[in-house]
Structure formats: structure tokens, C-alpha cells
């Protein structure tokens, strides 16, 4: 396993974790732009653009793009999150040259007017699809409640209104700023010819220019809030709560993740034993999520509406019980640690998974970590820091959103 890292004159960064033993290679462009970089009027533009990228370039029609991706036999896709837009594919090593050419070309889409209206319909269908699927947008509403005016409140897909009013001119402008060469990172893992990759990327991107885009960092301020929503056809009640966690650059993030695993993993956690194992709830858990300038710790519960209040009280008691007898134990920590370490090891077997691990670490935290270093991050955490993470979490104000067939289901004390 060899790590490579180079920055071209135009600012494009190229990194690779080369493993000549691998059967495949994975390639990805990590673009540092996402929903948090959008204005309220243009909510959803990053995601809309992610769709438009597949609609053709100066050299390729939309049909050419789709056909070539399939000719490469590629496992390919793209996603947009709050902080980035990622385009990726896994191919066999012989397809490297064609794959790099295609993926790089896609970063300079034609953005043709005629493709725009059809794709708008597709995205409106995507929004409708999520509206019909549990938890019916409750997580997005909770993000809005929690973040208020902070840019992290922006919905990744936008709203039917913003998607309905976006136009090609503003999208071109947005693309011009955010897809500047220094805001992109080309990431490769697996059986990669790195020298050829750099030579080819340099050739294709010689007319690319760096930009001046700087993400706005902002302190977020919070107070407790509670919102109930109705989704008439639902059978179950879906409840979320978000409170402050730590940012992705904070060394405490590993302790936070272990805390979430101990309290709220989907198997063997305190919430599992108190709520899921006895069949009181379909799911109940805790998760940690990190961003550049802040982080979240979330709680969730899915169960019958009439049992929501009682179950939610149980769940909060698990978090807030500060009796000595309720302290996190060394045995809980070891089990949680082993679970996380094993998951990292198992997932690392595929270059397709390593792509996201090293791509995210570099573009979001500016570091490269070997598999062993990633494991060490968790091995170093001691019991006291996990207990401190929980003590800290208890003090945070929280936003709570619940959705189900009726209203007035949940009181938050």
C-alpha cells in the first residue's frame, strides 16, 4: 500500500492509495461544495448540478456519457451532502485511461437548456419519493429547527419551490465558482497507475483555473425547540432530536462516536436493550455526525404513536441518568471499540470503500491516515473521555421533531 499526493499547477489535488494486489480500482472527484454553501433561494443547486453533470459535456452528449459509463462496466454514482459533492466509479484496472478521461470531462458539463427541464422533473420526483418514505422528511425538518439561520439548515435536495425556480444561468455561475480546479480533489484507490493518472489529469485539465471560493464558517447558536408534524397515512411515529456534538477536526470525535455506539448502536447498546430488544420500539438509537465547524449528536426513535411518550422518556433517561451506577463501563467500551474496529477493517477490503475513507479524510480534514492509523484513533480513547463526552452532551440544548399519524403525541420536558 503506497500513498501518493500531488497538487497540479492549476491547484487540482490528486491523491491515491495504490494497492497493486487489488482486483479493481476506484476513482472519484470530491468537490468541496454542498448544501451548506448555498443561499436560501438557491437551495438544492449543488444537487441539481450533480444531476446535470451526467447530461453531457462539450465532447459528449448525455447519451454518450451513459453509454460510456456502461461500456466501462462501471459501478458509478454520485451524491451530494451538506459539505460536498462526490462523483465516483469502480472499474477494472485496464479501464483506467478511459475512466479518467470520462470522469474528468464530466467536471466540465455543458449545462444545456434542453436537458434542464427534464432533469427538474426527475428531481421533483426524487423529492416526492422521499416524502413518501419514512421518516417523511423529519430529519431535514429537525436540521432546520436545530440550525436556524446557520447554512447547515439547507436541505440537500432543496424544496419543490427552489428546484422549480432554479435556472441555467445561475447554475452556470454556481458551477463556475465551485468547480474551480483548486476546489476539487481527484482520489484513486486500488490497482492504480498513479504516474499515468497524474500525466493524463494534467493534460485534460490544463485549461482549468483555480478560483477563490472560501466556505463560510459560522458559529451556530441553539436553543431547545419542539415541533410536531402530521403524516396521515403513517402507522408509526418517527422522532428525532439533534444537539451539539464536536467538529470533524476535534480529537474528541472518536470518543463521541464510541459514546454513541455504547448508548445507541443498533445492536447491544443501552437503547437496544431497553427499547428494541423488548419489542417496545422498532428502532431507537444515537449517532454522531461531524462538520467543519460543528458537530451533531442525534437521537431517534420509531415506535407506535401511543407508546412514543413513554419510550421517549425511557430513551432520555438512558442519556441523562447520572447515578454512579449508570456510568459507562470498561466492558461496554471494549465491546463498542471492537465493533467499530471490525467494521473499519471489513469495509477496508474494497477499494470502493477506501475511496470514501481517504477522500473524505483529505478533502474534509486535510489528512491521510493508513488503516492502522484509523484504527489507532479509536484504540487511544479511554473510559474517562467517553464518560466526559456523555456528560458534555447532556448539557446541550436540543431540537426535537416528531412525525406520525396524529398530533399531540409527544411532550418534551
Amino acid at each position: 500500500m503506497r500513498f501518493e499526493n500531488i497538487r497540479l499547477d492549476n491547484g487540482l489535488q490528486i491523491i491515491a492509495e495504490v494497492n497493486p494486489q487489488a482486483f479493481s480500482q476506484s476513482l472519484g472527484y470530491f468537490v468541496k461544495t454542498g448544501a451548506r454553501d448555498e443561499t436560501a433561494e438557491m437551495a438544492g443547486v449543488s444537487h441539481f448540478l450533480e444531476h446535470m453533470v451526467f447530461k453531457g459535456t462539450a465532447r459528449r452528449s448525455a447519451q454518450d456519457v451513459n453509454r460510456e459509463l456502461d461500456e466501462l462496466g462501471a459501478n458509478s454514482n454520485a451524491y451530494t451532502s451538506e459539505d460536498q459533492t462526490v462523483y465516483y466509479m469502480s472499474v477494472i484496472p485496464e479501464q483506467q485511461e478511459h475512466s479518467v478521461d470520462l470522469l474528468t470531462d464530466l467536471m466540465r458539463p455543458a449545462l444545456r437548456d434542453e436537458d434542464f427541464e427534464t432533469e427538474r422533473q426527475v428531481i421533483l420526483e426524487e423529492i416526492a419519493m422521499y416524502d413518501d418514505s419514512p421518516p417523511y422528511g423529519a430529519m431535514e425538518r429537525c436540521m432546520e429547527q436545530y440550525f436556524g439561520n446557520h447554512p447547515l439548515s439547507t436541505r440537500v435536495l432543496g424544496t419543490p419551490h427552489t428546484v422549480g425556480t432554479l435556472d441555467t444561468d445561475s447554475m452556470r455561475e454556481y458551477h463556475h465558482q465551485r468547480y474551480a480546479s483548486d476546489n476539487l480533489c481527484l482520489v484513486a484507490t486500488g490497482n492504480v497507475d498513479f504516474e499515468a493518472l497524474v500525466e493524463q489529469a494534467e493534460r485534460i485539465t490544463q485549461k482549468w483555473y483555480p478560483g477563490k471560493f472560501q466556505r463560510k464558517q459560522q458559529v451556530s447558536k441553539h436553543q431547545s425547540s419542539h415541533l410536531e408534524l402530521q403524516h396521515a397515512p403513517a402507522v408509526q411515529q418517527y422522532t428525532f432530536q439533534l444537539a451539539a456534538g464536536v467538529s470533524r477536526n476535534d480529537p474528541k470525535r472518536y470518543a463521541n462516536r464510541l459514546m454513541a455506539t455504547i448508548l445507541g448502536d443498533d445492536s447491544g447498546s443501552r437503547m437496544f436493550w431497553s427499547l428494541v430488544d423488548p419489542g417496545l420500539a422498532e428502532s431507537a438509537g444515537m449517532f454522531a455526525q461531524e462538520y467543519d465547524d460543528c458537530g451533531l449528536v442525534g437521537l431517534y426513535l420509531t415506535c407506535a404513536p401511543e407508546e412514543t411518550q413513554e419510550n421517549w422518556d425511557i430513551l432520555l433517561e438512558l442519556v441523562h441518568d447520572d447515578d454512579d451506577g449508570a456510568k459507562i463501563t470498561q466492558s461496554e467500551l471494549e465491546i463498542a471499540r471492537n465493533k467499530l474496529l471490525s467494521a473499519i477493517i471489513l469495509s477496508s477490503e474494497r477499494p470502493g470503500n477506501r475511496l470514501f475513507t481517504i477522500g473524505n479524510a483529505m478533502t474534509l480534514r486535510g489528512v491521510y491516515e493508513t488503516l492502522e492509523q484509523s484504527l489507532d484513533n479509536y484504540r487511544r480513547v479511554d473510559l474517562e473521555s467517553v464518560q466526559n463526552a456523555l456528560d458534555e452532551f447532556r448539557k446541550q440544548p436540543a431540537a426535537c421533531v416528531t412525525v406520525g399519524p396524529q398530533l399531540s403525541v409527544l411532550k418534551v420536558g
Binding site: Q21, N66, L69, D70, S133, E282, E334
Partner: protein, 413 residues
């Protein structure tokens, strides 16, 4: 090395089939027991799911909590499922934990405690899962389709029915376990990093003394055409459509799979192009194949809003029927590259491979080597695909829609 070397039959009927992937850090196994929903007594739909749940709540010398803690401590990734003919356990683990993990699963299937005081909790868990399907129309529409198409015995939902779950008692679980958790026709498939001689010995030690029993005779699987609309308060109308194709065991299976690939695999596929790219009718449209007993079906899904369900269905069916106009050489070469890539990528995943070889053994009584699949795919021609289509044209249509808009199957079908 031939795959034939890694088959070991126990006198009681259990078959161990394996494929070494020594380059991996992991090992995965799939354990298939002949205990499916079709074995449930009439009126006790959901018993299969309750049984597998209760078996995991204490077995061998561990109670419920000790099982979860032991598996979590080893970082075991696991799932279990009920299907028409089987209860299956799918497990992946870091290789040096394989033996201990397999031991726990041998206890779960052979020596469950079936504790009376956890029956109610298992029932509640089953009800929670049933409710979660009720809330997801894109999923629910397929459980309804299965019921309509395969009838009351073979069309049962793995989630059961409210009445069935509420009626099941401990004696029913004990009887279901006694009758169906048996080594006859049980399949244990293992893929990944293991030592074959040790694995054989371990399998004999864990399962060798499991007494054989008699397997209930299965009735032939029949399929029926039909149409049903479920009025539902969703944003999209969810369309699930099925028609006949040849099953997995059929010599023409790869022709049939090739035709589905032309329809639905990749972004240049016909359904993606016609339904989404040209018309923007959907975000999600797909086709896949399923074999139940001796019957094969193509299942398609599309979800759309705003009075466009009839058009979406019509375009979907016209696209399926357009296969009769022939397959282009480009479509053929793209399908070949996709299969080739996916076979190569499969070598990076022990769990994908263990589940595939279990399926092979169940339907064919042998493991299909990767080279053979490649040979079958290489042998496909535009003519052979068209011949197959004309020999087995789509028929036996079953349609279920769920949402605000009902639709009609066209006369041509």
C-alpha cells in the same frame, strides 16, 4: 483449482460449500435452513420470523444478552431473513473469528432455549417490522405483488400478517423449529480467508450430530396474472409490475438475465433512457429477476406523481415489448462489460460470494465457477437474445399500484 474440491457433505444432509479467497482479511458465511414462510401453518403467517427472532434469544450456554455481547465483541456483521423456502443467516467477520462465530450460530439453530418469557418480546419485534413495511409504500407494493402473484402459500410476506403474529404461541415456535430447523437440505456456504481442512472438521464437530429428519414436501409454485390498486395517501403512485421469465435453473437463464440487463442495468439501459432520461417521469425505475421454486419472474418498479402513472406504466410496458425489435451490438457489448466487471469486483467481497454460492447450491446443486458465468455471457449474441425473447415472450402480467392514481393494463398485454 476447481470449485468441486470445496464441497463436503455430512451424512445428515447438511452440505458445506466453500470458496477460498485467501487475499481477504475476512470470512463470510451463509447458513440456509429449509424453514421458509411456505412452511408456516395456515393462519400463523409471521411464525417464521418470530422463530428466528426467538432462537437468537438464548442458545447453547449463552443467554440472549451473552449472544449479542459475544457477537459484538468479535465485531460480527450479521443479518437474518425469512424467505419463501428458507431462513437464512448472513454473517461476515474478521477471519480469525470465524470458528467461534460459527459455533454461536450452530447453537442458535440447534440448541435455542426458546424462553417463554421472551415470546412476547419476539412477537412485538415482529409487529414492529410489520408496521415499518406498512409505512413504506415502495416496499409494501412488492409484498402485495408477491401475494397476488404467488397466492396464499408461496406469496406470503416474510413479515407475516397481524393476525398470524398475534396468534403465534410458544408451542407453535417450538413445533416450527423442531420440524424445519433440520440438517436435511441445509446449506452452509463459506467464502473468504479460511483453512479448508479446519473448516471441514469444525463443521463436522458443530453440525455432525444434528439428527436428520424428514423434509416436508413442497407444492409446485404457481403464478397468476392479475391487477390490484391500493388507494393510499402518498405523493407518488408506486407501480410494481411482474411478468414471467425462465427461472435460475433453466438453461436459458443467462439469455433472460441478459435481456433484463438491456432493460435495466446501467444508465444507458432502455428503461432508464425511456422512462427517466427522455420523459422525466420518475426518479427511480428498475427491473430485476426473481426465482421462487421453479418459476421465474421479472419484477419492475416505477414511482411517479401528478397523474403520470398511466403514462409511466404504458412507457414501461412499451419499453419491455421493444425487446422484440432486437438487441443492438452496443447493448450486447455493454452488458458483457458490466458482467465482467461485477464478477471481478465480487472477488473483493466474501459476503457477496458466500451468498452467491449458497444460491447456486440451492438451485443447481453445484457452484458455478466465475469462468463458467463469463463463458455463458461471452456466448450471448444479439440473435440468441432475440430468439430467447421470442421463445419466452413476456406474459403472465401481474400489476399492483399503490397511491392516489389507479391505472389500467393495456389490451396489448
Amino acid at each position: 483449482m476447481s470449485a468441486l474440491e470445496y464441497i463436503h457433505r455430512l451424512p445428515n444432509g447438511l452440505v458445506l460449500v466453500a470458496e477460498p479467497m485467501p487475499w481477504l482479511k475476512s470470512a463470510a458465511f451463509t447458513l440456509l435452513l429449509p424453514a421458509g414462510t411456505s412452511h408456516e401453518p395456515e393462519g400463523l403467517q409471521g411464525l417464521c420470523g418470530i422463530s428466528v427472532e426467538l432462537c437468537q434469544r438464548g442458545a447453547g450456554d449463552r443467554d440472549s444478552r451473552q449472544i449479542v455481547e459475544a457477537l459484538d465483541f468479535m465485531g460480527v456483521e450479521r443479518s437474518c431473513a425469512a424467505s419463501t423456502f428458507h431462513t437464512s443467516f448472513n454473517v461476515a467477520v474478521v477471519a480469525d473469528r470465524l470458528a467461534e462465530t460459527l459455533g454461536i450460530y450452530a447453537d442458535i439453530v440447534r440448541f435455542p432455549h426458546l424462553p417463554e418469557d421472551e415470546v412476547e418480546e419476539s412477537r412485538q419485534t415482529a409487529l414492529q417490522e410489520l408496521h415499518s413495511i406498512e409505512d413504506d409504500p415502495s416496499h409494501k407494493v412488492f409484498t402485495e405483488l408477491k401475494h397476488l402473484r404467488y397466492g396464499k402459500e408461496h406469496g406470503r410476506s416474510p413479515y407475516g400478517t397481524l393476525e398470524g403474529i398475534e396468534s403465534a404461541k410458544l408451542k407453535d415456535v417450538a413445533a416450527f423449529h423442531h420440524k424445519n430447523y433440520i440438517p436435511n437440505e441445509a446449506i452452509l456456504s463459506v467464502a473468504g480467508n479460511f483453512d479448508w481442512e479446519e473448516l471441514k472438521k469444525l463443521t463436522e464437530k458443530l453440525f455432525g450430530e444434528w439428527p436428520a429428519s424428514t423434509v416436508a414436501a413442497q407444492r409446485t409454485v404457481d403464478v397468476r396474472s392479475g391487477q390490484q390498486h391500493i388507494q393510499y395517501e402518498s405523493t407518488q403512485t408506486h407501480i410494481a409490475l411482474a411478468y414471467d421469465c425462465v427461472p435460475y435453473q433453466h438453461p436459458g437463464f443467462y439469455q433472460s438475465r441478459g435481456l433484463i440487463s438491456v432493460l435495466s442495468d446501467g444508465m444507458s439501459s432502455r428503461l432508464f433512457t425511456e422512462v427517466r432520461e427522455k420523459r422525466g417521469l420518475v426518479y427511480s425505475v428498475s427491473a430485476s429477476c426473481q426465482t421462487i421454486g421453479g418459476r421465474g419472474s421479472v419484477l419492475t418498479y416505477a414511482g411517479t406523481t401528478g397523474g403520470r402513472a398511466q403514462e409511466t406504466l404504458d412507457v414501461t410496458i412499451d419499453t419491455i415489448l421493444s425487446l422484440n425489435n432486437g438487441i443492438s451490438s452496443g447493448e450486447l457489448s455493454r452488458l458483457k462489460s458490466r458482467v465482467k466487471s461485477s464478477l471481478i469486483l465480487e472477488q473483493e467481497s466474501s459476503s457477496a460470494r458466500s451468498s452467491q454460492i449458497a444460491t447456486d447450491w440451492f438451485y443447481l446443486g453445484r457452484i458455478v465457477p466465475r469462468q463458467e458465468v463469463l463463458g455463458e455471457i461471452e456466448a450471448l449474441t444479439c440473435e440468441s437474445l432475440l430468439d430467447h425473447y421470442q421463445q419466452f415472450p413476456p406474459k403472465g402480467w401481474t400489476l399492483v399500484t399503490m397511491g392516489p392514481e389507479s391505472v389500467e393494463l393495456k389490451h396489448a398485454v
